[in-house]
Subunit: 145 residues, 2 copies
């Protein structure tokens, strides 16, 4: 397992242990994690802290060059908001754990030149399948449905 | 002046007074402001709290129906991240103070069925023109450039 996807999965599992939605993300620059995070809808009552957004917030104010050279890892295909953040900061490559349980804006990202690698990871799929079965209302809220 | 755009401008002015980037936003549902905010890059060292995002965070966890019926006001044309949040929550109408100093993802929003009204407001234009002239590096950082 790619150690950075492993770190994103650990973030997702941390979120689940906190009673939250199990989606995690890390941002990697120059072989090091510069930002990590997980969905905090439940924990902070947040409408904007999806896993990827939390990783951006944790990475914080970086020179444009750093974000442009970074790779974002996320356990789940990024929604419109997180995809928009990826475009804003000019991230050129993302590694997605799975898009089986939710298909985000991968086509938009690819149309803007972002490389999107999907791992179809069974651990990521399992986390979301179990969560969606357990708390469908919470999941729907998180994706605006 | 529309009182809701006036409220968004007051948020932008509050941000400026705090030493921040003068962009403000309010989210309106059923004739009432349910969320308001301004850019907090400087104030909180935030990479994700643009004005619109701060307004979403302030509005917080709302039923999907509420966001879908809401109108978002922003003093400046929304970037890719904020436009993505608008799409995630199914906001159907946005009122934009100006897009003269920065053109956001209005075409993407319109292609997804969002109504985009641009007011070409001179107060909004003036706030950004002055700010960009005073602190170009900060502005470039905010838009990932």
């Amino acid at each position: 397992m790619d150690p950075f996807m492993q770190a994103a999965i650990e973030e997702a599992q941390k979120g689940l242990a906190e009673g939250g939605i199990p989606i995690g993300s890390v941002i990697v620059h120059d072989g090091k994690i510069i930002g990590r995070g997980h969905n905090r809808r439940v924990q902070e009552g947040s409408a904007i802290k999806h896993g990827e957004m939390d990783a951006f917030e944790n990475a914080g104010r970086q020179p444009a060059r750093v974000y442009r050279e970074a790779t974002l890892y996320t356990t789940l295909s990024p929604c419109a908001m997180c995809s928009g953040a990826i475009l804003l900061y000019g991230i050129r490559k993302i590694i997605v754990g799975e898009h089986e349980t939710f298909m985000g804006e991968e086509e938009l990202l690819k149309s803007r030149g972002v490389e999107v690698d999907v791992l179809h990871d069974p651990v990521c799929v399992g986390l979301m399948q179990q969560f969606i079965a357990d708390k469908p209302e919470l999941w729907n809220e998180d994706i605006g449905e």
